[in-house]
Point group: C2
Chain length 211, copies 2
Amino acid sequence: MSENEKKPYVTYGSCACGCSGASKEITGCRFSLSPMTDRFIEVILGAIEKVHTEKVWSTTDKLSTIYRGKREHVLDALKACMIHAYQEGVHMTMEATVSKGCPGDTDAESYLAEDDALLNEPEIKDIHFPVNCKISLYPMGVPDYMKYIADVVNMSIDCGVYDRSYHYATILEGDVQDLFAYFDKATDYCGANLSHYILEITLSVNSPTAD
Amino acid sequence: MSENEKKPYVTYGSCACGCSGASKEITGCRFSLSPMTDRFIEVILGAIEKVHTEKVWSTTDKLSTIYRGKREHVLDALKACMIHAYQEGVHMTMEATVSKGCPGDTDAESYLAEDDALLNEPEIKDIHFPVNCKISLYPMGVPDYMKYIADVVNMSIDCGVYDRSYHYATILEGDVQDLFAYFDKATDYCGANLSHYILEITLSVNSPTAD
């Protein structure tokens, strides 16, 4: 047996585009909060603890927190975490990967609640602050992916949160409520029209950099 | 004219998969440093200023810094910025999007130096610290994208930086030098085998979270 044959290589053997590895409608997000303050531990842990996660599967590792479940509940938990982490005057970023339909995905480690009632929205819906944002959409496995990207960017224009397109991202800005309303529409569209997509989102608040 | 007709919608009109919008071999990266300390401004600006950027086109906006040019020089500048920002005991993340071949890209705002001599490597090659990392590769416009992802993940096993595959990312760990040596190999492979790819990288140092 050669050296290479002993290595635990991945193959993603039976994975095929257009055929999600998970049989259920699992949307997931993996996100990291980075509050740029000496008090970052209490800001991150304080926010994560305040989120009602009964309707999503969740775990936190060294790099990120992950929520998996129905799209609406995953976004509700993500939004709650961002809003609970927000501190007046503290610069913070949230990097989030929202994804559905990966051929390598499985049904495991998810929770699909039966009803649509959002657990966090009632206590966060009236909290407002301005956010700078960038997004990049990756529709996988299709040759005409630029069409879907254009549709989702144009949706941000309709939602009033579009700022400009620039290298490797679309720049958005707006109130936290309006941005998450847009993410809801964009992921609803992607989930309905693409078998596998990834939406990369970075939110930034209280940046000292001038406009 | 209706309300909608006045909006500056994007079309990405003549963009087609497999046909990069830029005629040259431009690789780019957009990255954000998040040092979790009250001194974040001096850490970020101090690092950016120390990077020799004569061989890349660069700009910094409210959300990120962008380098564009030849692949080797873009990675050299990115690595230098991470190493110069590193502070003993300070938790920091670097979120980086490395990309080549976007149909929406243009030849503008790039700089392709003629020679391959790295400007930053000589002064950073002997600096070592451990890094936790996650990567996600997005090969665009091809139905068999999982094959390319498997190849790049297996390359991390060969480089000795693979930890595990987990939801929405591959987890890596290793010395900063070994990780960037792997990014060099991975992007070399992707640039040669894919017309458009995006490699999302998050580096994390000095996390207080236990393994």
